[in-house]
C-alpha cells in the first residue's frame, strides 16, 4: 500500500467478513496465491469464497511455519537474533520455535553439520511429521562453506532434501527472514509436494 494511503484513513478499504484485505477486497474479490481473481458470493448473509482445497491449505501452511532450529554454530546465534525483539519474526508467523521434531514443520539447519552430526540430523528429519520443509541457513549448511576438510559435511543435501538455501556466513537476520518468506511463497504456490 503506498504511503499516502496511510495518511488518509478514509482511503483504507473496510474489511468484509471472510475477505482478506488486499487488492480485490474493495470489489469483493480475493486472490489466493496461484489463482486468478474469484468472485466472493453472498450466501445466507455471509461472504463466501470458492477455491481449491489445496490452495487454501497451502496458503495457511505458508503463513504459520513452526520452525525447529537445528542450531549448531554461529548461524544459531543469528537465528536467535531473528526470533528476538529487534527483528521479530513473529511478524511473519514463524515465531513458534519448537525444539521437538514432532511439533515442527520447518527444519532450519543453522550452522556447520559435521560428519559426526550427520546421523543425528537425518534422524531429526525423519521424526518430523509431513508436511515438512528444510531451510539450509548459511554457507556451511549449504556447501560446507570454507570448511573443505576431513570432518565437515559438504552441504546437508548429503542427508536431507533442502527447499531453501540462504547464503551468507552467517546470513543476517533479515537475510534469513527473506529465506523464510521465499519458502512461504514456494509453499503457497504449491511447488513443494512430498510425502
Amino acid at each position: 500500500m503506498p504511503m499516502q494511503n496511510i495518511e488518509h484513513p478514509d482511503s483504507i478499504i473496510p474489511r468484509k467478513a471472510g475477505v482478506a484485505p488486499g487488492e480485490g477486497a474493495e470489489k469483493g474479490l480475493i486472490t489466493l496465491p496461484g489463482e486468478t481473481e474469484r468472485e466472493t458470493e453472498d450466501l445466507a448473509g455471509g461472504t463466501y469464497l470458492t477455491t481449491k482445497l489445496d490452495t487454501m491449505v497451502n496458503w495457511a501452511r505458508g503463513n504459520s511455519l513452526w520452525p525447529l532450529p537445528f542450531g549448531t554454530a554461529c548461524c544459531a546465534i543469528e537465528f536467535m537474533s531473528m526470533v528476538s525483539s529487534h527483528y521479530d519474526v513473529a511478524r511473519f508467523g514463524a515465531e513458534v520455535v519448537r525444539f521437538s521434531p514432532r511439533q515442527a514443520d520447518l527444519l532450519i539447519v543453522a550452522g556447520t553439520i559435521v560428519d559426526k552430526m550427520g546421523p543425528v540430523l537425518k534422524k531429526i528429519y525423519d521424526q518430523m511429521p509431513e508436511p515438512k520443509y528444510v531451510l539450509a541457513m548459511g554457507a556451511c549448511a549449504t556447501s560446507g562453506g570454507f570448511y573443505r576438510v576431513y570432518h565437515v559435511m559438504q552441504g546437508i543435501d548429503e542427508v536431507v532434501p533442502v527447499d531453501i538455501w540462504v547464503p551468507g556466513c552467517p546470513p543476517t537476520p533479515d537475510g534469513l527472514m527473506y529465506g523464510i518468506l521465499k519458502l512461504k511463497e514456494k509453499i503457497q504456490r504449491g511447488e513443494i509436494k512430498r510425502g
Binding site: F70, G71, T72, A73, C74, A76, I77, E78, M80, S81, S84, S85, H86, F99, G111, T112, V114, D115, K116, M117, G118, P119, V120, K122, K123, I124, F146, Y147, R148, V149, Y150, H151, V152, C169, P170, T172
Partner: protein, 590 residues
C-alpha cells in the same frame, strides 16, 4: 624477496622480512634466567632447557614426565593450561612433540614442557596429577595417535567413531572424510559415581540421553546421565559435534586467511579471537599495531565481552524459563552488533582485525555511538539484576547448584568467569596486560562458592567493569594516525597506491601470493576471551602457511568438569548449571 628492494622506490625504512633469522622473543633472556632457576629447583636430570623461547621451556624425557609434572605442581604450577601435540615427521628421535603448558597462579608465570615421542611409543598419563589432562590426552590421541599409558578412557574425542587415521598428522590428507552411519554411533554408558554405587533406593535406574539436539545444550553437546529417581548418579559427555578442524584448516591457509577461521571459534565474541590471533603473529613478526588500532581493538573487545555475557545470561535464563531477560537483553546486543557493522560491514563475525592493525578505520561517529551504548547499557544490566536477583524461584534454582571447589577448578584448568566464581582473581588482562589494559582503572570481580549463582554474579559485575573500561577509553579518545602498520611485507598498500604505483602493485601482488612470512620459531600469546584464557600457539617454518596453530579453548577444560559438577544434582539443576558455564561449541570442538 631480494628483488623487491631492488625495485622499491617507496620510502619504507622498516624491517625487511626476516625469515632467514629465527624468531627470538623480546623476553627470551628473562625466560632463560627464570628457566635456570626452575631447573635448579626441580633438579631432574631428565629435563633439558630449551633456550630462546617466550617462556621457560624444557624438553623432558617421556619416562620422567610424571615426576617433573608432580614436582612443578608441588612447586607452584598448579593450573594446567594446555596439552597438545605437534608433528615433525622427518625428525630424528621421535616425530611427535607432546607439549604441556602450566601456569603458576602464585608467581604469575608460565612454563612449557615438551616430550618427544615416536610413532609407536606411549607417554605415561598425567591424569592422576591434573584432572584437566584426561580430555587433553584424548585429544592428542585422536589428532596424532600418540598413546598415553594408564589413561582410564583413551578413545577418540573430537572425530567420530568410524573415523580412520589421525588428522593432524602431516601425512593426513586434509580433505579425506569418513562416513559415519547410524549403526556406527557408539552407545555411552556413564560410570556410576562411587558415592552412589551401594546406595539402595526404591527407584529404578534410568539412563537418559540429552542432546546433541536438545534445546538446553546450546547446539551440539551430548550428555548421558544415569538417574536414580531424580538424582544424577553418573554422567558422561560426548563432544566433537562441531569439530570444524580449525587447526588443520590453519595449516592449509596463509596467515591472513586464518583470521576468518578464528572468528568462528567463539562466535559470540569474535573480535577477541581476531585480536588474540593477530597479536600472536605480530609478536612473531616483531611489530606492534599502531595506537589507534590498539584502541579500537580494546574498545571492541570490551563490547564483545558484553555481548558474550549478554548471550550467556540471556540464554541461561531462557533455559530456566525466564524468557523476558532474553528479549530484553538482546536489544542492547543488537546495538553492539550495529556498532561493529558500522565499523566493518559485518555483524557477528566481522574479521575486522588484520595482522598489524585493522582492516579499515572506525567511522567518524564511532566514539559518539560508543558513548550512547555505554550510557544505555547500565540500565539494562540493573534491570536484569532487579528482575532476577530478588526472585525466589531464580535463587532457589541457582544457589548451591552445580558447585565446584576452588581446588578442583584449578586442577581442571578453569579460567575466566568460571574460575573467578570460585574466588581466584585470575584475569589475563590484569596478570599479563596487553593493549594497555594496565593503564585503565578497573577491578577483577570474584565470588566464592563456585556455584551457578556465583557465576551469575561475576558475569554481571564483569559487564559493569567492561563499561568502566569503555568509559575511560571513550574519554581518552581515539589516538590519531593510521590503523595499520606501514610495512608492505605485512599490510597491503592502500588501493590508491596499488593502482598508481608500480612498487605498491608489486608489494600487493607479493603479499597476496606469498603471504606474510614470520620468522622460524614458535610463539604463544594469550588474551582474556569471553569465557577464559584464549591462547594461540603458532609454529612458523618461515613459509606463508603456519606450520601448526593450536588454540587453547577456554571452555574445553570447563566442560570437562561438567560430569563431576552435575553428579548428585537433578536434571533441571544440570540444565541451569550448563548455561552458566557458557560453553560455545565452536571453541569447544575447535
Amino acid at each position: 624477496m631480494s628483488t623487491l628492494t631492488k625495485f622499491s622506490a617507496i620510502p619504507y625504512t622498516g624491517p625487511a622480512p626476516t625469515n632467514r633469522d629465527p624468531y627470538v622473543p623480546a623476553n627470551a633472556a628473562q625466560a632463560d634466567t627464570r628457566g635456570e632457576e626452575i631447573s635448579a629447583k626441580i633438579n631432574n636430570p631428565a629435563m633439558t632447557q630449551e633456550r630462546g623461547q617466550d617462556m621457560p621451556t624444557f624438553v623432558v624425557d617421556k619416562n620422567a614426565i610424571t615426576d617433573v609434572l608432580t614436582a612443578l605442581k608441588n612447586d607452584s604450577f598448579t593450573l594446567p593450561l594446555d596439552l597438545f601435540g605437534a608433528d615433525y615427521p622427518r625428525r630424528e628421535g621421535g616425530r611427535f612433540d607432546v607439549i604441556y603448558q602450566l601456569y603458576s597462579l602464585k608467581n604469575n608465570e608460565r612454563v612449557r614442557l615438551k616430550v618427544q615421542v615416536g610413532e609407536d611409543e606411549a607417554v605415561p598419563t598425567s591424569t592422576k596429577i591434573f584432572k584437566a589432562t584426561d580430555w587433553f590426552e584424548r585429544e592428542v590421541f585422536d589428532m596424532f595417535g600418540v598413546k598415553f599409558d594408564g589413561h582410564p578412557n583413551l578413545r577418540r574425542i573430537l572425530t567420530h567413531e568410524m573415523f580412520q587415521g589421525h588428522p593432524l598428522r602431516k601425512d593426513y590428507d586434509p580433505a579425506q572424510r569418513w562416513l559415519l552411519t547410524e549403526q556406527g554411533v557408539a552407545k555411552l554408558t556413564p560410570k556410576i559415581d562411587p558415592r552412589f554405587e551401594d546406595v539402595d533406593t526404591d527407584f529404578e535406574r534410568v539412563t537418559l540421553n540429552l542432546g546433541p539436539s536438545h534445546p538446553a545444550t546450546h547446539g551440539t553437546l551430548r550428555i548421558v546421565v544415569t538417574l536414580d529417581g531424580e538424582t544424577i548418579i553418573g554422567a558422561d559427555t560426548e563432544i566433537g559435534y562441531l569439530h570444524r578442524c580449525f587447526e588443520k584448516m590453519s595449516e592449509t591457509h596463509t596467515y591472513q586467511q586464518v583470521i576468518p577461521f578464528t572468528d568462528r571459534l567463539n562466535y559470540c565474541s569474535a573480535i577477541i579471537n581476531n585480536v588474540g590471533y593477530c597479536m600472536t603473529i605480530e609478536r612473531m613478526l616483531g611489530i606492534e599495531a599502531p595506537p589507534r588500532a590498539q584502541h579500537i581493538r580494546l574498545m571492541l573487545s570490551e563490547f564483545m565481552r558484553l555481548s558474550d555475557h549478554i548471550i550467556c545470561i540471556g540464554t541461561n535464563l531462557v533455559d530456566m524459563g525466564a524468557l523476558t531477560n532474553f528479549w530484553y537483553l538482546f536489544q542492547p546486543r543488537e546495538e553492539i552488533l550495529g556498532l561493529v557493522e558500522q565499523c566493518c560491514g559485518a555483524r557477528l563475525l566481522p574479521t575486522y582485525t588484520r595482522v598489524g592493525g585493522m582492516a579499515v578505520d572506525a567511522p567518524a561517529d564511532f566514539l559518539a555511538n560508543s558513548q550512547r551504548l555505554v550510557n544505555m547499557l547500565p540500565k539494562f544490566i540493573d534491570d536484569v539484576e532487579k528482575l532476577i536477583m530478588k526472585n525466589r524461584i531464580f535463587l532457589d534454582r541457582v544457589q548451591d547448584v552445580c558447585p565446584i571447589s576452588q581446588e578442583d577448578a584449578i586442577s581442571f584448568g578453569f579460567t575466566g568467569p568460571c574460575l573467578r566464581a570460585t574466588g581466584v582473581p585470575y584475569d589475563v588482562r590484569k596478570a599479563s596486560p596487553y593493549l594497555g589494559y594496565d593503564t585503565y582503572d578497573w577491578d577483577v570481580p570474584i565470588a566464592d562458592g563456585g556455584d551457578t549463582y556465583a557465576r551469575f554474579l561475576v558475569r554481571l559485575e564483569e559487564m559493569r567493569q567492561s563499561l568502566r573500561i569503555l568509559q575511560q577509553a571513550i574519554d581518552r579518545g581515539l589516538p590519531p594516525g593510521p590503523v595499520i602498520v606501514d610495512n608492505p611485507y605485512v599490510a597491503l598498500p592502500p588501493k590508491s597506491k596499488v593502482y598508481n604505483e608500480m612498487e605498491s602493485l608489486i608489494y600487493h601482488f607479493k603479499l597476496i601470493m606469498h603471504g606474510i612470512q614470520p620468522p622460524v620459531g614458535e610463539a604463544y600469546f594469550q588474551v582474556e576471551g569471553g569465557n577464559g584464557e584464549l591462547g594461540f600457539y603458532v609454529v612458523s617454518d618461515g613459509t606463508k602457511n603456519p606450520y601448526r596453530v593450536r588454540v587453547r579453548p577456554p571452555c574445553f577444560p570447563i566442560f570437562e568438569a561438567y560430569p563431576q559438577m552435575i553428579t548428585g544434582q537433578t536434571i533441571p539443576d544440570a540444565i541451569a548449571g550448563l548455561g552458566s558455564l557458557n560453553i560455545i561449541a565452536g571453541e569447544l570442538d575447535h
